[in-house]
Subunit: 686 residues, 2 copies
C-alpha cells in the first residue's frame, strides 16, 4: 500500500514526454555487443596485443584441459603471416578433447565455461577468453574460427567453423565436418585476425617463456612466421598435484554471499549446512555457533534471514575455525621456482638465488590464496636499471599493465634501500642487479579487468605480498652483508694456500733449513671451516660427497644440515645415517665428530639413477660456529625449528676448555645471531 | 559432408569419459554472477573505493539525465555513517525522472541502458555502473536499493526497493509505493553499503571537485558524515551544446563492423547505404566508391559479402571523405578549462595559464574523439614534486589507476626537459610546479575496465594526446624563455621609474639647477611599450580600458589583438571599432596610430551588465615590435592566421628611417619568430 493509493489520473494522449522519450531508448545490451565495443577490456587494444592475448587464452585453455585430464601438457603454437596486417595463429593441445555438442559454446559464446563455478585454482576462470579471441577475429577479418577436436573414445575428430553472433551472444556454426586426425585426443583452434607478430617484451615468445618457467611440466613449442621453431622442453616430468575443489571458508565471506548460500543449500538443517557446506567448521565450532546465535541445530537454513543472517556471519567471524585448506591451490613450489629461474637466468650467472618464499594460504572472500616469491641477485643482471619483475597469477605470466598491478604496488611501497638495493626516494621499483618472481595463486584472482593482466588492490593480498617480499628482501640483505665478510675470507684463503708454502720454501732455502710444517700456521691464519660439496653423475645415480675441513686453530664440534626437495627425499641414501630428519620438509642433519685443527671429515648423499635432482637443488647449512668462520655453507636460517642444545653447549664447553685467544668472543655471537634472526622473523610476521 | 561420413560406432553404456565429465561441468555464467565474483573490475575493490564508485555512478547518471532533458543539473550527495563499516549514501538529481516500468531495469540489471546504442558522447555508456553499485550494496549489507523517482506529468513519485538477482541478472522488486515528493521531477537513489568515507585524494569530495571543474554548468552539493556541507556553485549558467547522435564514420571501421552494418541496414540500395548510413560519404564519394569497387548503385547492401566487403572497406579507406562531424562530442572548451583551473588553483596564484589546447576531432573505430589540454605553471604549485595531473574522460574525473592510463603514458613518454620541466632520465611524470588537465571526449572511450578509471592504449589516441601535450608544452617553453627577458625588463622599469626622478632631483638641488625633463632619458633607458589593461565592473556593465604607452626612443606602429570568448563576442562594444574581426574565433584587432616616444594611446571594450565574462577571459597580443620591448601583452601566437603585411612593412620602414642604434636587429627577429613557430607547428603535426 502506498502513501497515495490511487495512480495518476487518466489523461488524454499527449506527445511523449522527455521521460517517455528516454524510456523508449532503454534496451538490453548483449554481453557480446558490450565486449565488441569495449574489446580493449579483453586485451585486444591493438594488433600486437591482440595476438598475444589470443595465444595466451588458447595456451591457458590447453594447459588447464590437459592437467584436468591428468595428461602432461604438450602444446604447439603456430603463427604465420597472412597479409600485411593479418596473422593466422593455430594452437594445438593434447588435452582430452571437447564433445561435439560443447564445441560451439566453448569457443563462440562469452560467459560460458566449466571453471567459473568450480572452487579451485585454474588459469581460465571467467568463461570469456577464447570466445573473445574468436569475436575479435570475426570482427577484424570476418573469418570464422576453425576448430578441430577429438576425444579418445571416438574415431574421428570434429571440425567446425564458428562465428559468434554478437547480438545474441550465441555461436553460429558455419561448417561442421569430420576428420581423421593423427592424434589420439586433443584440440586445435585456428584463427585469422588483424594482428602483428613481434619478438621482445610483451610478445608471444616472452609469454611462452614465462609460461614455461612456472609450468615446468609442460612442453611448449612455437613456430614463428619466419619458420623459426622455439621449443621449451620439460624441466619436470610429473604433473603438479591437482588443485581440488573446496567449499567456501567463512573467513572473508560477505553477508550477501552467506545469504545466497543459506538460500541455495540442499542441507535440511542449519548444523548440516554449517559443517558440510562450509569449510573449516568442526562439530565443536558448530555447537559454539549455535550457542552464540541462540539458534537450534535442526532449523532450516533458508529460514535464517535479515538480522539473523548478520548475527550468524558475525559469529562465524568470531569463532575459531580450522584454517582454510590449501588443496584447492596449486603453488609452483620453492624447488621449481628456483629451477625455473635458473633456467631463464643461467647464462647471466647470478651470484645469489634467495631461498624461495612461500607464504601459508590465507582467505579472502571465502577462498584461499597464497603468495610465492623468488629473488635472484647479481651476475650479469643490469645494475643501473630498475629490477626485472616477473609477475604470475595462477601459473600464468602477466605481461601488460605492470603499473596497474597490486604486485608492482607492493614492491614499490617497500623501502628497498634497507635491504641493499637502490631506490629513488624510497619508493618505486628498486634499482639494481636483481630479478623478482612473484606468483599469486588463488581460486579467485581479483584481476583489474577481463584481460587478466593486473591484480587489483586488496588489503589482504597486499599484506601477504608485502610479507613475502620482505622475507625475500631479508635473504638478500643477509646475503649482501655476508658477501663482504666472505670475500675477505676467500681472498685470505687463496693467498695463504698459494703464497705461504712458496714463501716458506724460499725462506727455508735461503737460511738452509728444512721447510717447516705449515699446517698449524695456516689454520691459525685462515681460521675457517671449509665445507666442500662435489657432485658426480654416474651410472649408479647422483652422488654428492661433502668434505668438511677444520682450518681453525681449535677443535670444533659442528652440526651440518641439508635441505633436499621433499619429493625426492625418500630416494636419498645417506652415509652415515643422519642424526635427525624431517622428511616432509626434506631436512636432514648430522652432528659431526669433534674435528681437531686440520682434521677433515665427510659424508655423502646418493640418489638412484632416474631421480629428478641436481646438486644445486640441495641447500647446506652449518651451526656450532660463527658464520665468518665458515666457507661453503650458510649458517642455519632462523626458520628451522631444529634447536641444537647439545652442540651449542658442547661448543661453549670446548671454547672454555681450550680458552682460545681470539675465537671465543666470535663463537658466542652465533647464539645471539640465531636469537636475533628468530626475533626479526617474529617481528615481521606481526 | 565430412571426410568420414559415418559417426562413431554405437557402444555399450560406458562410464563417463574425461571429456564427458568436463562437458557436464560446462555452464552459462550470468553476467551478474560474473561481476559479483569480480567486483574489483567494476571499481568495488575496497570500502573506500566502493563508496567513490557509487557516488560517481549516481552523479554521472544524474548529470547525463538532466542534460539530456535540457535541465541545468542540480545534485545533492548525502553520505552518512550507518555503523563501523557501513555507509548510507543518497544521491538526488533534478533530472526528468524515470518511468515506473523502467526503474527496476535501470537500477537492478546489468548491461541495460539507453546510452550504449546511441552514437554520441555521454558519461554513462555501458549500462553497468549504477546497477553494479546496487549489486555491491545487496552483497555486502543484504539491503535493497531505495529509489524515488518522479516524472513531471505525474502527481506522485514512485518509491521502489530493489534487489538484483545475480543468477538471472534481473531486478527483484521488494517494495513498490507512491509518495508525494516536494520536487517537480527528479530521481533519488539511496544505498547502504560496506564502505568507508575519507577525504583527500581519491575521495568523493575530490571527485565532485573534479566534476565541478569540467561541468561548470552544474551545481553540486555534498553533505559529509559529520554534517559539513560543501557546495560547488555554478560557474556557467548555460548548458553546453548537446552532443548529437551521429552515424558511424568509415575511417577506422573494422571489416566485421562494416559487415554488420551492411546486414542490418534497411536501405534498399548500396548507394543509399553509403550516403545515408555512413557519415562523411558525399554523392561524389559514393560514385567514386562504386566505380572503384565495380559495384552498381542499386545493389542490395546485404548481398555484399566476403571478398566484396573487404574490397568495399579498402575503397572506403582510400576515397576522400568529409571529415567526421564533431557534433556528437561535447568538449569543455578553452574558456571553461581556463576558468575551471582558475577556480581550483586561484589561491595558489600560478604565474602562467597556458592557452588551452583543443585538438580537432579525429576518428577511431568509426567514431570521433578529441583531446583538450590545459597547463598551469608556477605560483604556489610545489616545485620539487611530480606535476599534478587531472585526467578526465567525457567530463568525468578519473581518480584511480593513473599508472595504467594512456593519458599518463603519453605524458611520461615525452621528454619534458626540452620544455623546461625536470624529469628523471627523460621519462616518467615530469617534476616541477605545474598542473596538467587532460580531457578525452569520445563517443566510445576505450576504458581499460568497466570501472572506467583508465584509458586503454591506442595509437590514434596516443598521437592526439601527444600532439596536444606538445602544444601545451611549447606554450610553457615560450613562457619560460620570455619570463627571463621580461623579469629583466620589469626590474629595469621599476628601478628607472622610482630612482631616476629622485636622483635627478637630488643632483639638481646639489648643483642648484632646475630638474631636467627626464622623459627622453627614461624612454631611452627603458625601451619598452607598456600595455596596461584595467577592468571596471559597474552598473553599465564590464568596461575594459587598455592604455598603450611608447616608452621607447623611437616612433612605433603597433597592432593590438584581443581574443574574447566567442560566445560573448557579439555582446562586446569596441571603442574605436577594430580594423578587423573574426567573430567565430572571438578575435579582433587594431592598428594603433603611430606612437611617438612617450606618447600614449588607448582603446576600450565594454560588455553589457549581465554578460558572463571576466577581464581574465580575454587574451591580449601585440605585433610590430620585438617581444622583449613589450610589457603587459604577449607576442601574437603562431596559430593566428592573421598576417599583417602592412604593419610589418611600415615597422621596417620606420626602423630604416629612424635608424635607431639598438632596436633594428631585435625587431627583425620577430618575423623569424613567427616563421619558426609556424614551422614548429607544422613539424609536430606530421
Amino acid at each position: 500500500m502506498g502513501i497515495i493509493a490511487a495512480a495518476a489520473p487518466p489523461r488524454s494522449v499527449p506527445p511523449p514526454t522527455i521521460a517517455q522519450q528516454l524510456a523508449a531508448k532503454q534496451r538490453e545490451i548483449s554481453v557480446a555487443e558490450f565486449f565488441e565495443r569495449n574489446r580493449q577490456i579483453l586485451g585486444f587494444d591493438n594488433p600486437q596485443r591482440a595476438l598475444l592475448t589470443t595465444v595466451k587464452e588458447a595456451v591457458d585453455n590447453g594447459l588447464d584441459a590437459a592437467e584436468e585430464a591428468g595428461i602432461l601438457p604438450e602444446l604447439l603454437v603456430e603463427v604465420a603471416k597472412e597479409s600485411d596486417d593479418r596473422v593466422r595463429v593455430a594452437v594445438t593441445d593434447n588435452g582430452p578433447g571437447i564433445l561435439r555438442k560443447e564445441i560451439p559454446n566453448v569457443f563462440a559464446r562469452l560467459l560460458y565455461g566449466s571453471r567459473f563455478h568450480s572452487n579451485r585454482q585454474a588459469r581460465g576462470q571467467q568463461g570469456i577468453g577464447i570466445s573473445a579471441a574468436v569475436l575479435y577475429a570475426n570482427l577484424t577479418t570476418a573469418r570464422p574460427a576453425h576448430i578441430i577436436s577429438k576425444v579418445e573414445e571416438e574415431e574421428a575428430a570434429h571440425v567446425l567453423d564458428l562465428f559468434l553472433d554478437t547480438q545474441k551472444n550465441q555461436p553460429r556454426v558455419a561448417a561442421d565436418d569430420l576428420l581423421l586426425w593423427d592424434r589420439p585426443h586433443g584440440t586445435r583452434i585456428e584463427l585469422v585476425l588483424k594482428a602483428r607478430y613481434v619478438r621482445g617484451r610483451q610478445s608471444p615468445l616472452e609469454y611462452l617463456r614465462g609460461a614455461a618457467i612456472v609450468n615446468p611440466h609442460a612442453r611448449i613449442a612455437l613456430v614463428e612466421p619466419d619458420g623459426t621453431r622455439v621449443t621449451f622442453e620439460r624441466a619436470a616430468t610429473e604433473l603438479p598435484p591437482p588443485a581440488k575443489e573446496t567449499l567456501p571458508h567463512p573467513y572473508g565471506l560477505e553477508l550477501g554471499e552467506l545469504g545466497y548460500l543459506l538460500k541455495a543449500t540442499r542441507r535440511p538443517t542449519l548444523r548440516e549446512f554449517l559443517t558440510k557446506d562450509l569449510q573449516g567448521v568442526s562439530a565443536r565450532a558448530a555447537n559454539e555457533l549455535l550457542a552464540k546465535t541462540g539458534r537450534s541445530a535442526g532449523e532450516a537454513p533458508g529460514k535464517i534471514q535479515g538480522e539473523a543472517q548478520e548475527a550468524l556471519l558475525r559469529a562465524l567471524h568470531e569463532v575459531a575455525l580450522v584454517a582454510p585448506s590449501p588443496e584447492c591451490l596449486s603453488p609452483i613450489g620453492g624447488l621449481l621456482i628456483k629451477r625455473g629461474l635458473r633456467n631463464v637466468l643461467g647464462e647471466l650467472r647470478p651470484e645469489f638465488f634467495a631461498p624461495p618464499v612461500s607464504r601459508p594460504p590465507r582467505v579472502r572472500g571465502g577462498f584461499p590464496f597464497m603468495v610465492e616469491v623468488g629473488l635472484v641477485y647479481g651476475g650479469g643482471l643490469p645494475a643501473d636499471q630498475p629490477i626485472q619483475l616477473l609477475r604470475f597469477a595462477n601459473r600464468v605470466p602477466l605481461l601488460f599493465q605492470q603499473g596497474a598491478c597490486a604486485i608492482t604496488t607492493a614492491i614499490a611501497s617497500m623501502d628497498w634501500r634497507r635491504y641493499g638495493l637502490d631506490q629513488k626516494g624510497g619508493t618505486g621499483l628498486p634499482i639494481g642487479p636483481a630479478l623478482l618472481l612473484v606468483h599469486l595463486a588463488s581460486v579467485k584472482v581479483p584481476f583489474t579487468s577481463e584481460a587478466k593482466e593486473a591484480v587489483a588492490e586488496d588489503p589482504e593480498i597486499d599484506k601477504e605480498l608485502t610479507l613475502a617480499l620482505q622475507a625475500a628482501a631479508r635473504h638478500l640483505k643477509t646475503h649482501l652483508a655476508r658477501r663482504g665478510r666472505r670475500e675477505f675470507a676467500s681472498e685470505k684463503f687463496a693467498i695463504i694456500q698459494k703464497i705461504l708454502p712458496k714463501l716458506a720454501e724460499k725462506t727455508s732455502r735461503l737460511v738452509d733449513k728444512p721447510v717447516p710444517d705449515l699446517a698449524p700456521v695456516i689454520t691459525r691464519i685462515m681460521d675457517v671451516v671449509h665445507v666442500e660439496v662435489t657432485a658426480a653423475n654416474g651410472p649408479t645415480g647422483v652422488r654428492l660427497p661433502v668434505a668438511v675441513t677444520n682450518f681453525t686453530p681449535r677443535p670444533r664440534v659442528l652440526e651440518l644440515f641439508v635441505e633436499i626437495p621433499p619429493d625426492v627425499f625418500a630416494r636419498a641414501t645417506f652415509e652415515p645415517a643422519p642424526d635427525g630428519t624431517e622428511p616432509e620438509l626434506g631436512r636432514a642433519w648430522w652432528t659431526l665428530p669433534k674435528l681437531a685443527p686440520n682434521a677433515k671429515t665427510g659424508l655423502a648423499i646418493t640418489f638412484p639413477p632416474t631421480t629428478d635432482v641436481e646438486a644445486n637443488d640441495l641447500d647446506w647449512y652449518v651451526a656450532g660456529i660463527d658464520e665468518s668462520h665458515v666457507l661453503g655453507a650458510d649458517p642455519l636460517p632462523g626458520d628451522w625449528d631444529v634447536r641444537l642444545p647439545r652442540t651449542i653447549v658442547e661448543a661453549a664447553e670446548l671454547a672454555q676448555q681450550e680458552a682460545a685467544p681470539s675465537g671465543a668472543a666470535a663463537d658466542e655471537e652465533e647464539v645471539d645471531y640465531d636469537a636475533a634472526e628468530a626475533g626479526a622473523h617474529a617481528a615481521d610476521d606481526d
